[in-house]
């Protein structure tokens, strides 16, 4: 089946999941204890304010009808009005999305740049000293709070040594790359342990495989052997692992954006939580959900492109 058909079929299968995402996001408002409107408004609650929200969110209607209202608005691109900024949420999200996307891609690239060589070093001499070091050090990374690492790097490299801007997004591509290096690095480091481990495992697998012996028997020299035969096969399972963990990568951007004050949707969400701006929180959660779903689809497509066996089996 062609690639387009593959993507199309996958998209169709995703529809129930996306619907589910919208249901959960919609339902969040009903998890709020007590009267949602009153709790949200908190100390600013006035009978009039509460009544407005009730009407706005249709809280008096039956549940199904509320969901219909929610979906109707969603399809028309209406994600509500921010309680704090008093502007449509959609606008807030579109303006805050680019920095987050930058951060995610930057972090993914850095994670690959760090992980591949380390996994190679570990796999080339299995059970050697280098192998043990490469396997042990990331264990520290598994338990490391991202915001803590962010604070430390920020203080040492940005404040003390002034190598990078302390905060912000920067202007222009060069500015972005410079300003976002530390935040992207933090997110990448959080991701590396998992990626290194799976890359190493798949490389070891491939290194021991028969076709590598065949290639050696052909006299294929080391570098060509590594790239065309080993790496080409080893990345395939690693792509899957990266895709599975993309949720963590994306979730990690939240707190890192906050520490480095990057104007992305992550810090938007956190600030909206502080200002009790429910519509924004809800909308950002929805956007994140859809983002992960799309990234998983992308991973599937990449995987199918890399592994010729897949297209024909499925």
């Amino acid at each position: 089946m062609g690639r387009m058909t593959f993507v199309f079929r996958r998209l169709l299968l995703l529809i129930p999941t996306v619907l589910g995402v919208t249901i959960i996001t919609f339902f969040m408002i009903h998890l709020i204890p007590g009267d949602p409107a009153r709790t949200i408004l908190g100390i600013h609650a006035t009978p009039r304010g509460i009544a407005i929200l009730h009407r706005e969110w249709g809280l008096n209607r039956p549940l199904a009808s509320q969901y219909w209202l929610f979906m109707d608005r969603l399809v028309h691109g209406n994600l509500g009005i921010s309680l704090f900024y008093n502007v449509p949420v959609v606008g807030l999200i579109t303006s805050h999305l680019p920095p987050t996307l930058w951060l995610i891609c930057y972090a993914a690239v850095l994670a690959i740049i760090i992980s591949v060589p380390l996994a190679m070093i570990a796999a080339s001499r299995k059970d050697g000293v280098r192998d043990h070091v490469v396997r042990a050090v990331p264990l520290l990374g598994l338990g490391m709070p991202a915001f803590w690492l962010a604070l430390i790097l920020q203080t040492t490299l940005a404040v003390k040594f002034q190598l990078f801007p302390v905060s912000g997004y920067g202007t222009g591509i060069g500015g972005h790359l410079h300003s976002m290096f530390l935040p992207a690095l933090v997110v990448a480091i959080a991701l590396c342990p998992v990626v290194i481990r799976s890359l190493r495992a798949s490389m070891l697998n491939v290194l021991g495989a028969d076709f590598v012996t065949t290639a050696r028997a052909k006299g294929v020299p080391g570098s060509r052997l590594f790239v065309r035969h080993v790496l080409r096969n080893a990345v395939i399972p690693a792509v899957t692992v990266l895709g599975i963990n993309i949720g963590f990568l994306i979730g990690g951007t939240l707190i890192v954006e906050q520490v480095f004050q990057i104007p992305g949707i992550g810090s938007l969400m956190i600030n909206s939580i502080f200002s009790r701006d429910f519509p924004v929180v809800q909308a950002v959660a929805l956007v994140f959900g859809i983002m992960v779903v799309l990234v998983n689809l992308l991973t599937d497509v990449i995987y199918a492109s890399l592994d010729p066996r897949v297209r024909f089996d499925r």
């Binding site: 076709f211 012996t213 065949t214 028997a217 052909k218 006299g219 065309r228 080409r232 066996r309 024909f312």
Partner: protein, 340 residues
């Protein structure tokens, strides 16, 4: 293609080869003092059970042993060069143009993400300096030679789209791609259906006759050896126990193990009342039995068989055996013949 050295010199000369494998339980003596000669243009069969060390021998010759295995003694001389002494990059230059290998499991022996044509064309590109166009033409020609139908289309296929027999043909094409003087075959037909086996064997036989390529053919299957080889060496527990021409060894086996193998192989021309299996199981290669390694399973064993390891000695023109009492085998055969 390289010339077979001075006239009369064998193409490949393996002398006293030892391969050891480091394992948790001790050192495994996988290959324990093997000597072998492969004349130019001839096929030499290497026969034995699983665990006899025959695959390790081939891998040691080519230098593609797994990381925990090492050649600890001996030499492998191909056209005057000792392969054991060569470094990895030096060996790489020899692999392909001078010596090639065919493996047992064609499915796992081919790179699953690389197109078949590219895999066949790879060695010519690396060794013969061909560009992509030339190498591709060469690959197509090879595919035709080995009998792959519709080569232009198949060129761009992936290994998993081929059947087992076809994949093995691809492997043969890869092996032939730089026209080596010697091809090592590691049980190339074991994983195939019987009918396909026959096709592949005939193909190998024909190709080698046509180009004068030598073969070292490893298998546990005696009839296969009979079909394709001129010389035969029987391996047991890491050592060669009998050597000679195929004709000689199979009709007049001079080692109880060989006798057992012959008797346990079905033979259409001389059907037996029952096939006899060789009792017992292969010995530990970490601490092999004292004396002759076969003696625990041998029905002719005597006291002296348990003391010193018997050497491989010449008993006839070109026929050697490591059995101290090989006459028993011949007597046994005669008795059987008389009983028919």
């Amino acid at each position: 293609m390289t010339a077979a050295g001075a006239a009369g010199q064998p193409l490949l000369q393996v002398s006293d080869l030892h391969v050891e494998i480091a394992s948790r339980r001790g050192i495994v003596h996988a290959v324990d003092g093997i000597s072998l000669e492969v004349p130019a243009g001839e096929a030499v069969g290497l026969v034995g059970e699983s665990g006899s060390g025959k695959s390790m021998t081939l891998k040691a010759i080519l230098g593609v042993l797994p990381p925990e295995a090492k050649v600890t003694a001996g030499s492998v001389v191909l056209n005057g060069t000792d392969l054991v002494q060569l470094s990895g990059s030096q060996l790489n230059k020899i692999r392909g143009p001078d010596i090639a290998m065919i493996f047992q499991e064609p499915m796992s022996a081919l790179n699953p993400v690389m197109r078949v044509g590219a895999q066949i064309a790879e060695a010519p590109q690396v060794h013969l300096g061909m560009n992509r166009r030339q190498a591709a033409d060469r690959a197509l020609e090879l595919m035709r030679r080995v009998g792959i139908p519709d080569p232009e289309r198949r060129f761009r296929s992936f290994p998993h789209e081929f059947s087992g027999g076809m994949r093995q043909r691809v492997m043969i094409a890869i092996a032939l791609s730089c026209e080596p003087a010697l091809i090592l075959c590691d049980e190339p037909t074991t994983a195939l259906d019987v009918t396909i086996q026959d096709q592949i064997l005939r193909l190998l036989h024909r190709l080698c006759r046509e180009s004068g390529t030598s073969l070292v053919f490893v298998t546990h299957d005696l009839p296969v050896v009979a079909q394709i080889c001129q010389q035969l060496a029987v391996m047991y527990a890491g050592q060669i126990v009998e050597q000679g021409t195929v004709q000689e060894v199979l009709t007049r086996p001079c080692h109880p193990y060989t006798l057992g193998l012959v008797r346990s192989a079905p033979d259409v021309d001389h059907p037996r009342a029952s096939l006899e299996a060789i009792p017992g199981s292969p010995p530990s290669l970490i601490s092999p039995p004292d004396g002759c390694r076969f003696h625990p399973r041998c029905k002719f064993a005597e006291e002296d068989c348990t003391v010193t390891p018997p050497p491989l000695r010449l008993i006839d023109a070109g026929h050697s055996t490591a059995c101290l009492h090989y006459e028993r085998c011949l007597d046994d055969l005669q008795a059987e013949g008389a009983g028919r």
